[in-house]
Symmetry: C2
Subunit: 187 residues, 2 copies
């Protein structure tokens, strides 16, 4: 169940129903719980295995349902630096099946930052208002047990000083013109 009350039963337009649920406080309890956790948090870690160069389906479903219109955007809420979760940071921590070299600009799988994680960092997290920080990437932990243990240690140290992790710098919406184009002075 997604909504306890539908706005219209003639057709389903997901964002319309989400907006209605937000206005009438009728999100299903599991979604409301997740939204409340996000509002409470000031730093959120998304831990997942990189699967088919994106998040696993179950986490995508979490974004599709929890990042609702009327909660993180829409209904008078903005997007990106004006998104509903603004003032909070988020970090991706992911594990890969291919080695680091495959994810470089000339690597076979494509640049991890500019190509693979962009739709997650920019399209999901930043769109919703989060300030994404540099990800923690564990390369091929299933193939090297010693490296896996070193990564755990490194990750622990990283988290002990999590507020020092640099943010990924994206342009605020004010740097774009009315045609959604980055103004020339910021290029």
């Amino acid at each position: 169940m997604i909504f306890s009350r539908r706005r219209t039963r003639i057709f389903l337009k997901y964002q319309l129903e989400q907006g209605h649920a937000a206005r009438t406080n009728t999100f299903s309890p599991d979604i409301r719980d997740e939204q409340e956790k996000l509002l409470w948090a000031d730093f959120v870690i998304f831990q997942f295995p990189l699967r088919w160069y994106s998040v696993p389906a179950i986490l995508k479903g979490w974004f599709d349902r929890v990042f609702a219109s009327g909660f993180v955007y829409g209904q008078g809420i903005g997007r990106y630096d004006k998104g509903g979760l603004k003032g909070r940071k988020a970090m991706v921590s992911t594990t890969t099946g291919s080695p680091r070299e495959a994810f470089t600009p000339y690597g076979m799988d494509g640049d991890i930052h500019e190509k693979i994680l962009y739709p997650i960092h920019h399209g999901m997290l930043y769109f919703a208002g989060f300030e994404p920080v540099e990800p923690f990437i564990t390369w091929t932990p299933a193939r090297d047990e010693e490296a896996r243990i070193r990564y755990l240690d490194e990750y622990k140290k990283q988290l002990q000083n999590f507020s020092a992790i640099p943010s990924i710098l994206y342009h605020p919406t004010s740097h774009y013109d009315e045609h959604h184009q980055l103004k020339t002075e910021y290029r």
Copy 2:
């Protein structure tokens, strides 16, 4: 249910179980059915609304489960031009919530080809062996009814001559060296 018989019950490693299911022909019937449809097809269209700058969760789940190790890669099957579905073409047909200008190189949402669809075209379709062709993108159909009808007509014409749609040209695996780097002569 994903597998009718597990290889190991001590821990779950998804690819290991997929490989086992492939070797012993024990994928669950719904997955086997989807795999057989792919082997039968020579041109596959993936029609979906762009949601959070990727495929909706239910389609991601389809990729996660159907594009199994031992079917499209692994167990002696290669990747990209040597993937299990080689010899077949695939086309993305998607609908957006933001206008075309927002998805240009200086657009607010990021370049649709280089950033947003790359993990799908290259990471999912090409990885599995498909030759992806140029996508059919319907910009903001929910906001302009006349445009929506024009798109339907344009799409119909496109499909009547689908074999003429240009492929997206990615490098074959032979263009990469042993460190997964594109060889200098192809840069």
